[in-house]
Symmetry: C3
Subunit: 235 residues, 3 copies
Amino acid sequence: VLEKVTENCKLTEFVGTAIGNTIGLVIANVDSELHEKMGLDKKYRSIGIFGGRTGAGPQIMAADEAVKATNTEVVAIELPRDTEGGAGHGSLIIFGAEEVSDARRAVEVALKDLNRTMGDVYVNSAGHLEFQYTARASYAIQKAFNAPVGQAFGLLVGAPAAIGVLLCDTAVKAAEIEVISYLSPSTTSHTNESILAFSGDSGAVRQALIAAREVGLQLLSALGGPCKSLTQPYI
Amino acid sequence: VLEKVTENCKLTEFVGTAIGNTIGLVIANVDSELHEKMGLDKKYRSIGIFGGRTGAGPQIMAADEAVKATNTEVVAIELPRDTEGGAGHGSLIIFGAEEVSDARRAVEVALKDLNRTMGDVYVNSAGHLEFQYTARASYAIQKAFNAPVGQAFGLLVGAPAAIGVLLCDTAVKAAEIEVISYLSPSTTSHTNESILAFSGDSGAVRQALIAAREVGLQLLSALGGPCKSLTQPYI
Amino acid sequence: VLEKVTENCKLTEFVGTAIGNTIGLVIANVDSELHEKMGLDKKYRSIGIFGGRTGAGPQIMAADEAVKATNTEVVAIELPRDTEGGAGHGSLIIFGAEEVSDARRAVEVALKDLNRTMGDVYVNSAGHLEFQYTARASYAIQKAFNAPVGQAFGLLVGAPAAIGVLLCDTAVKAAEIEVISYLSPSTTSHTNESILAFSGDSGAVRQALIAAREVGLQLLSALGGPCKSLTQPYI
């Protein structure tokens, strides 16, 4: 799972690829019948398409940065059960824009930022851990997790789900955070994950994540041996 | 994923195997309690069972040919999330028949036709593409996709789903087709696919498929390198 | 997929690991907000956590033995779509206890028993078969399958689901059993399995399982070559 820079696709709709078998595309003017079948907001004829086989959290966090940086909106987030045989999700995120140049820019920002947001994803043969942090959530995170815009936001994922349960408990005990949602296999796309989404003071959010990460790395290592960051930790 | 000809199973219920870890079986007289629990139509005591780990579209198309060629009905189509770690579905298709010989014949036809219907399935490590065409849809396709019987039918699948979205747009712009349904991860069995089912004039259906295939092969190659047909393209 | 004895995790919450990337943990005093979000019964502040990547039936059967042997209750069973790229489920099982020592003991019993309950799980590259038997079902089996407590219970699983359908028919024809439930891809977590849960006289339950096992091994071998027990058969 390495970053790929693909320059050899000549389609005008192609933007690029990134870690996690993630691809970025644009459509300048979505066919009106398809537009309706997709249930998109009518005000956006241009869309950016951003999705991968491995990872939902990393793509959502990267899309959140893209939304902050561009004149676009996240109009759809869908979470397949995937991770290429692993325990988690894949992702399909659609940006809506009035101009295709805005959609393209959003996809470019998201593709580029994905290397960062994969940094606190830790993997071994037994499962994975994921930790995400932002000092200021924007509209992609709000859409995905119903998190308050403008506040610090944290996300933790533990797979298999048994590990995730303990990480959730660790996080809420480590700092004064506000739990937005607890997700488990019956409330995800049948992933083998337990997930906590939370907001709060930025220091508290970080503290909760760091405490959970410390516990998670011990547990996942005990189950499946050394586990390492997919890129470079950022939290 | 190669075709296997297995002659070494002596069970009378065994019919054969085919590509995609697909197996074909018959039951001459389904136990009445199980029959009821399975929710099958009471008029059929004999069933044919046809399903695989990889592929739903190919098995549905092959079952459609089997229904055309035999005195059977497709009474159930179920779509697990599978593809053996890939991005798509598996399949479980049940033929109902009054005579077990009819059920067996349907399964034989479907097993044999599967090699053809896997022909426009293209795979690499990043995902898969699938294109299916028939000049005249029958009752299996109607049951699976609510397609009009007797008309030309096209199916396209792109995985990861981000690629599929663009293929759907390409197809509807390439020819005058009638979209039956657009499916995405939230409306499939959580696969990482976007799917378009459509009907129309046979020339238009083929044109839409060929246009989407051309785009799909470029995109999937850009993401994961060369991708090739599982058998021999037929469209 | 071998049993792992991991003694190197120093967390007090860690109990151990077992076959199928299964882990066992305890929380002495679940955070009250998380407790509520998890929907747990308020009378249990201590929980045992027991879950794996591969296997739901084996973990449920092992949990049933744990419940019989300890002062605990199974308060949640969730079934992700998993098996690490295979055709079946993973598992997340929560024991509730008034004392953490009880929760720990339940997890220990379950981890230890898992080697036995993986014994009639047979795997090859094409799929898997699973057979489970107990002379006396307890509350974990009741919660998972709505089976009558105190009676003999049998469970059979065939994957791909096409094989499972025939095994279900074989079992109900082989002995006088009472079918509790028939599950297929549309009623599981989108697994590629057909599943039969049944009760009855202990001799009949065993007879049904043995008949289905004999057929299943022939079919799965015909599809994917030799398939073998993950540990040692116990039925």
